[in-house]
């Protein structure tokens, strides 16, 4: 697998039509969108900025990772956590919606290393997309998925990626009863590959622990970060996180959201 360019594809504000939108878990919605004019390549890890609606309240767009994208059809997996996501979650078939994207860097894969994908909760979104692409290419990989309790989402992940998935749940309802970060060392031990890379997305605390493990074990870790965003394209400098080992900041929307773990502190 060769180095894929992460140069940003042509960004546009696309007019999308909702094809379908269904709740797959409590407060989690899978939305399928049709973007008639969309024909640019998309890299797993990239995201879009969704305009909530015409009203200026809420004012800003909301960032969502691309869950799947095939030609002009894009899928978004959305969890309701506040007002904006709640309004988006109520969109139904034929509703129109403005989608700015594709934005940010994606995951850069390194063909010499075995990929271990580590997702916590909704952090699965960009990794699902990455795993889908790897599966399409016939690549081998492992996907660790941790969540509080067994959900339909987890079930879907199992069905789709089969034996590649390793489950952990906080309450033990599926897979090991553990947190992702606690289970990671033994999981990695059990993987029969020497040279691996970790691709991770999930709660900050989880990713920090994954990074700590990576550093200790000399495994490169790529994380996908979240930050409050205004523009999503790098012009407002609102989404900055601290650079690692340097006194300064870097934008999550433009230089990220995927970073090599030695580049940022969060």
């Amino acid at each position: 697998m060769k180095q894929v360019s992460t140069r940003m594809s042509k960004v546009r504000d696309y007019r999308a039509v909702v094809l379908s939108n269904r709740a797959i878990d409590d407060m989690v919605f899978l939305m399928e969108l049709f973007l008639p004019d969309f024909d640019v390549p998309v890299i797993p890890g990239q995201f879009v900025m969704i305009q909530i609606d015409e009203s200026y309240d809420p004012f800003l767009r909301r960032p969502y990772s691309i869950f799947e994208c095939e030609n002009a059809t894009m899928k978004i997996l959305l969890k309701v956590v506040g007002r904006g996501s709640e309004i988006i979650s109520r969109k139904t078939e034929n509703d129109k919606i403005n989608i700015l994207g594709p934005l940010g860097t994606g995951f850069t894969d390194d063909e010499k290393r075995y990929p271990v994908l580590v997702a916590g909760g909704m952090g699965i979104v960009p990794l699902w997309f990455l795993a889908t692409r790897m599966k399409q290419k016939g690549m081998d990989f492992s996907l660790v998925f941790g969540e509080l309790t067994a959900s339909t989402l987890g079930e879907e992940i199992g069905k789709t990626f089969q034996e590649k998935v390793l489950f952990v749940t906080d309450d033990g309802t599926r897979g090991a009863k553990a947190t992702v970060s606690d289970a990671l060392p033994s999981i990695v031990d059990s993987i029969s590959h020497e040279i691996i890379s970790i691709y991770s997305c999930g709660p900050s605390r989880m990713m920090q622990k994954v990074i700590a493990f990576g550093e200790k074990s000399d495994i490169p870790v790529f994380v996908s970060l979240e930050a409050r965003m205004a523009c999503g394209i790098g012009v407002c400098l609102g989404c900055s996180v601290q650079r690692k080992g340097a006194d300064g900041f870097v934008t999550v929307c433009k230089k990220g959201p995927v970073f090599k773990s030695d580049k940022v502190v969060f």
């Binding site: 940003m8 042509k10 960004v11 546009r12 504000d13 305009q51 200026y56 309240d57 809420p58 004012f59 800003l60 767009r61 403005n98 700015l100 930050a227 409050r228 965003m229 205004a230 523009c231 999503g232 394209i233 790098g234 012009v235 407002c236 400098l237 609102g238 989404c239 900055s240 996180v241 601290q242 006194d247 300064g248 900041f249 433009k254």
Partner: protein
Amino acid sequence: MKLDLSTKIGTVLFKNPVLAASGTSGYGAILNDIFDVSQLGGIITKSITVKPRKGNPPPRIIETSCGMLNSIGLENRGIQYFLDENLPRLKTFKTNVIASIAGNSDEEYAMLAETLNKQVDAIEVNISCPNVKEGGMSFGQELHSTRKVVETVKAVSSIPIIVKLTPNVTRIEDFAKVCEESGADAISLVNTYKGLSIDIRSRRSNIGAFTGGLSGPAIKPLALYAVWKTAKTVGIPVIGCGGVMNYVDAIEFFMAGASFIEIGSATFREPDASLKILRGIKQFLEDENICCLNDIKGVIHEC
């Protein structure tokens, strides 16, 4: 009827009155990947300082009702980086380049203005940033320090000087007057309003640097009032800014007396908002059979 949207500041001609506001448009290049920025009347850069500034700790923004607070803290790589890396690209766009400058002292403003003189089409002197500990807004909250900065900058500049005012004062028009007296070629207003937002669960400010500046449609009625008051007070061109989201807002600002408008936060909802607004202005003028902006500039009167 031929629509003429051109306007001047000093001797510099702008092909139309729509400017991309400072700090919301980067240095033009990113926006140009999305739409043709050469169609705008001008691009105002993110404020430039003498030395690189890393800016304020995150979180730097928080949404509020019909607006947002920001506290970026003038993050930029300093004047030298700007000249080397941003300006060459900016100059390739067929539109006026306005460099926004921010200093900690009169000397810094002078140094920035002198360095940029003739390198750009005009300078916007930011004496209104609410998000820095030293300098910034404090220059724009005292008449004497405003006067001093403007005089200092004028002394070293041969290109038009725009002074960007803070609305966090009792009578903004007094500051505009002082700028005009000190030789400013235009006034732009408003920068953001000082504001606060609290996360009641964590009992902390939603902004890393604690306070921020409010922008967006929430402030439009206040900005429009400030522009109207200012345009009545000074003879130099007034650049209206604050919550301009669409062409209707733009026309309101012209009718209140503005000669130009700046598009700020609207760019976050739609990256090509400024272009859409420009088109809307043209359409409105055509529909209403108005041939130039002067015909509507300041048409509203207190009765």
